[in-house]
Point group: C2
Chain length 248, copies 2
């Protein structure tokens, strides 16, 4: 499947995405799911994608086509606000999925879900989740992160470790921890992982890739294994007084 994270901090934005795709165990591939679109000096967009791979690719191609040959409709060079970019991408996503779903019947799902992050002009940098239906929500102030794909395994670490005031390196470490524990639990998520770091006001994304076997990943995996094993040895006592025996 996929696992992508986007975090909104006071300083900027952090993005992390795996690269594994599969259409059955015989057809496991590696595709970027973190895409950077930089159509003008005053704006930067980061798009993370989950769901039908063909749909996400066609949406990206249509975004590029609209930039190369602008028509009457919106495109990413002309939208005035980040939410307008989300609605534009949502409309493309619906259109592409609808154009193929007749051929799919009930057997498979042609829809895709996106996380859109970035900044337009001096508007607020933000991260938005774009639903297959074409509408969107922004990450909440209390839990300033979004996840798409296999989000359940790694949600707990993000909830404990991420707040708006956290610095960007710590947020990246927490995101990588969440990614590593998800990949351990679910074979359909795996390295290499793509990282994007955005500092507010720069309109530029720093991109990195972490490969399987990277020392950083191995340190994190070992750290969490040791920490959890130590914790298991020190779990607080339970006693019969904690329970009621009348279970019925």
């Amino acid at each position: 499947v996929t696992y992508c994270i986007a975090i909104r901090l006071d300083e900027g934005l952090v993005f992390l995405a795996d690269t594994r795709t599969n259409a059955g165990v015989d057809n496991v591939g590696t595709y970027r799911k973190l895409h950077v679109i930089s159509p003008a000096p005053d704006r930067l967009f980061v798009l993370e994608s989950a769901g039908n791979l063909a749909t996400t690719q066609e949406v990206l191609h249509r975004i590029d086509r609209d930039l190369a040959a602008p028509g009457d409709g919106p495109n990413l060079a002309t939208v005035a606000h980040l939410f307008e970019a989300a609605l534009y991408i949502g409309a493309l996503s619906r259109e592409v999925a609808a154009s193929h779903e007749g051929a799919f019947g009930n057997r498979r799902d042609a829809t895709a879900t996106f996380v859109l992050g970035g900044q337009v002009g001096d508007g607020k940098a933000d991260v938005l989740l774009v639903y297959p239906e074409g509408n969107y929500i922004r990450a909440s102030d209390e839990r300033p992160f979004l996840q798409i794909g296999e989000s359940k395994y790694g949600k707990f670490l993000l909830e404990v470790g991420v707040h708006a005031e956290v610095d960007m390196v710590t947020a990246l470490k927490v995101a990588l921890s969440s990614m590593v524990s998800t990949a351990r639990a679910n074979l359909s998520v795996g390295p290499p992982y793509d990282i994007g770091i955005y500092l507010n006001g720069t309109h530029h994304l720093e991109e990195f890739r972490v490969n399987a076997g990277s020392p950083a990943l191995e340190r994190l995996q070992e750290f969490w294994s040791n920490r959890l094993r130590d914790a298991m040895d020190e779990l607080p006592p339970i006693s019969p007084a904690d329970f009621s025996a009348d279970a019925h």
Copy 2:
């Protein structure tokens, strides 16, 4: 939804189930999902249920009816092996779901999934997952636990903390930790929690209930919050050397 755990240890079996059910936020209820069936002195069955609540209840009623008025078919007093009990329950489950699914159409799912644990005579005590299709698998030797319902959030703790040689109290603490972190992440899982402890060869289940606000639950919640927060402060360093900048 539901979250149920069953663990097979060298000493015996540990069961843990939440009690929350919902059919929409207006209709949240509390129902036992851990059921004990003790149809003869030489055998004990524990049934945990997830999925359509009406189907799980009708399956339990049919089990009782077959015990009260045995026919030509199998029942839980006569099966010679635990796997035969699983196949019997699987057949009931398919029958009940099939009898209602015409009325459901595609709108909802009439199927149920069960975990069956226990011991028949001096056969091996075991835990089996009974699929809606009526077949079953046993917990693996490497990861001797089964989960049904909202299993993803709490899988990591079970994987780290549970092996066959773990003692039963530790296994129960790990199971409660997994339950507490699931309930924190997902509103559809919640207390009270039902606990069953089975010592090999006894053909008797010790049952307990943990209520919301129990000191044991509060100690576990606080323990994990503190441990994770401490860990976040001590995450191993990452450096540019861990990454490759050529992300494309």
